[in-house]
Structure formats: structure tokens, C-alpha cells
Amino acid sequence: MALTKEITLSRLQDKFGDAILSHDEPYGLLTIEVPADRNLDVIGFLKNESDLAFGYLTDLCAVHMPDQKGREIAVVYHLHSLTNNVRIRIKCWLPESNTEIASATGLYAGANWMERETYDFFGVRFLGHPNLKRILNVDHMEIFPMLKQYPLEDSSREDKDDRFFGR
């Protein structure tokens, strides 16, 4: 029988039980939340089980929600099972005070640059990453610019009148 979202979810719930903190299907995409310290267990299970075979890491990114105290930053993994054409999204929430999570580079080589980008913009430290340094921004940048406490605009801009540009 072909793999479906429902089967994927029940396989995960059988294996991990309460570690699947929540599940939802916004816009038809199966989305689960797991504790940050179980991320590699869940992803490794999805990748290595022969009937699941989520062999492709579509995307890895982060989200900053400063209003959710204690769980401000989400690391989001998008996996795709190419043989079954089933997709899944996995979210791991982290507190702003301790943004450390295990690196997925051991499972997917493609996670290398995506984790560097996530570190570059959100300051998420991926433990076990072979070369965790900035990838897109200048090396001497001191902030993680996608965190919402930092302004989007360049502070050195001189030709803009604050009255007209809402700054």
C-alpha cells in the first residue's frame, strides 16, 4: 500500500508516542512538533525506515516569534519522501536564551549550507556542524539580522527624512 500522510503520522506516533507534541495539516502539509533534543531521532527514523524513506531535505530554516516566551525560535525541517511523494514539516521550538540544536549534517549532506544560513540569520548554533560560520552576510557582522529586535534598515543611511519614511 502506498505511503500516505496518515500512515506516516501513525508510524511516528507508534514509535515516539508523546514526543510528537502536536500535529496539524495547514494547507495540506503534514506538520509535527517535536522536542528540540529529539530532532535527529525523528528525522533519522523518517529517513532510514525503508517504507518511509524521507531521503530528501527540502528546506531547513528558522522562525523568530519574540512574543512566545520560552519558545521564541523554531527550527523548521521540510522533508520529502521522493519514492512515495509525501512531504512532512518538523518544527523544534527553542528558547531565545539557549538556541542550540543537534546538526542534521550527519543525515543529510545538504543540511550543511542550510544550517550555516540559519546560523547566519538567526544565530541558531547547530552542535556537531563541521564548519558553522556565516555564509551570506559579511564575516564581521555582529548581529543576527533576522531576529526581530534588530532593525531591517541600514543605520548609516543619510538621505532619508524620518518624517517621510516612518523611522
Binding site: L136, N137, V138, M141, I143, P145, Y150, P151, L152, E153, D154, S156, R157, E158, D159, K160
Partner: protein, 175 residues
């Protein structure tokens, strides 16, 4: 044909200053180095092509080596990560050299008022002529080139020895 500079003319001779002859020659044989990073570069391609034909101004020979270029044409958004590269290219150009900043992004950062974009190339290299527009039309780019030609014609031949020029380069930390 360009007009001859002011001078003394008589039967079989013409006398004028060396400055103005060399200035005339330089102004009508500018070799541009296109540093095109975005849409202004596309406008520059139109400027070079037969409709607008920058060759009419003696600039048909693009130099992709900074060593042989006279005019650095910066066209497009310069990210902060690109700034050291741009400065390096400028430093590799031999004197005399001029810089034209084409478009809003190169001149001031344009709409990209953001942490990752250099807010005007004059933060890293000196600029002679700014061309406004987003992107400017080929006519505007040609107007900028003609402004550069005026500068080239009327500048001292040994601009690089002038104290103001040395002070300008020193303010950018360029040797």
C-alpha cells in the same frame, strides 16, 4: 569629428597647449570597465548596442581588465560583501582613472535600505559622476559619460600629483 581646442592657427601650423590636446585624446578614447551587478547593467547593454551606440563617444572598447581601463562604471546594487571586491578593482586601475556611479543603488543604496547593502559606493571609492534613475535610461547613461568627458578634457594631466587628489584617496585609505 571633435572640435580642435583653442590655439593659434596660421599657414601650415597650429599651436596649442599639450594639456588640451592630450585631454582631447583621452576624452574621446575612454575605455570603460563595466561593473554591472543588476538591472542598470542591462540598461548599459542597451547603451552599448547599436541603437544608442556608446561607440560614438569613443568608448566602444570595453576593458574587462582594470589595468587597461580608464573609467570604472558601477551599475547596480553593491552588497556589503561585494564592497572589498569593488575597492580592489578600483585599486588595480592605473591613473588616470575615473568612476561613474550609475543608478540609485550604486549612488545611495536606492530602495535597498537594508543591513546587507552598501549605502552608496562613495563609501568605499571616490566617485566623479552620479547618474540618477532606477534604472536610468540609456540617454541618461550617455549624459553621464559626456559629463565624464568634460572632466577628462578639463582636468590637469597630472591630477594624481595634486595634493587635493592625494588627500581624497587618503580619506578612502587608498595608496
Amino acid at each position: 569629428m571633435v572640435e580642435a581646442p583653442a590655439g593659434v592657427e596660421g599657414q601650415g601650423f597650429f599651436a596649442t597647449s599639450l594639456d588640451s590636446v592630450i585631454g582631447l585624446a583621452r576624452a574621446n578614447s575612454i575605455w570603460p570597465l563595466p561593473f554591472a551587478t543588476s538591472c542598470c547593467g542591462i540598461e548599459f547593454m542597451a547603451t552599448m548596442a547599436s541603437n544608442y551606440d556608446l561607440a560614438r563617444f569613443g568608448s566602444e572598447r570595453l576593458s574587462f581588465s582594470p589595468r587597461q581601463a580608464d573609467l570604472l562604471m558601477v551599475m547596480g546594487t553593491i552588497a556589503k560583501k561585494m564592497a572589498p571586491v569593488l575597492k580592489h578593482v578600483y585599486e588595480q586601475m592605473a591613473e588616470p582613472r575615473w568612476v561613474i556611479s550609475v543608478g540609485a543603488c550604486a549612488s545611495s543604496g536606492g530602495i535597498f535600505d537594508t543591513y546587507s547593502v552598501l549605502q552608496g559606493i562613495d563609501r568605499v571609492i571616490p566617485v566623479d559622476v552620479y547618474v540618477p534613475g532606477c534604472p536610468p535610461r540609456p540617454e541618461q547613461i550617455i549624459d553621464g559619460i559626456m559629463k565624464i568627458q568634460e572632466l577628462v578634457k578639463n582636468e590637469s594631466l597630472r591630477r594624481r600629483n595634486q595634493p587635493e587628489y592625494k588627500a581624497l584617496l587618503a580619506s578612502y585609505g587608498i595608496e
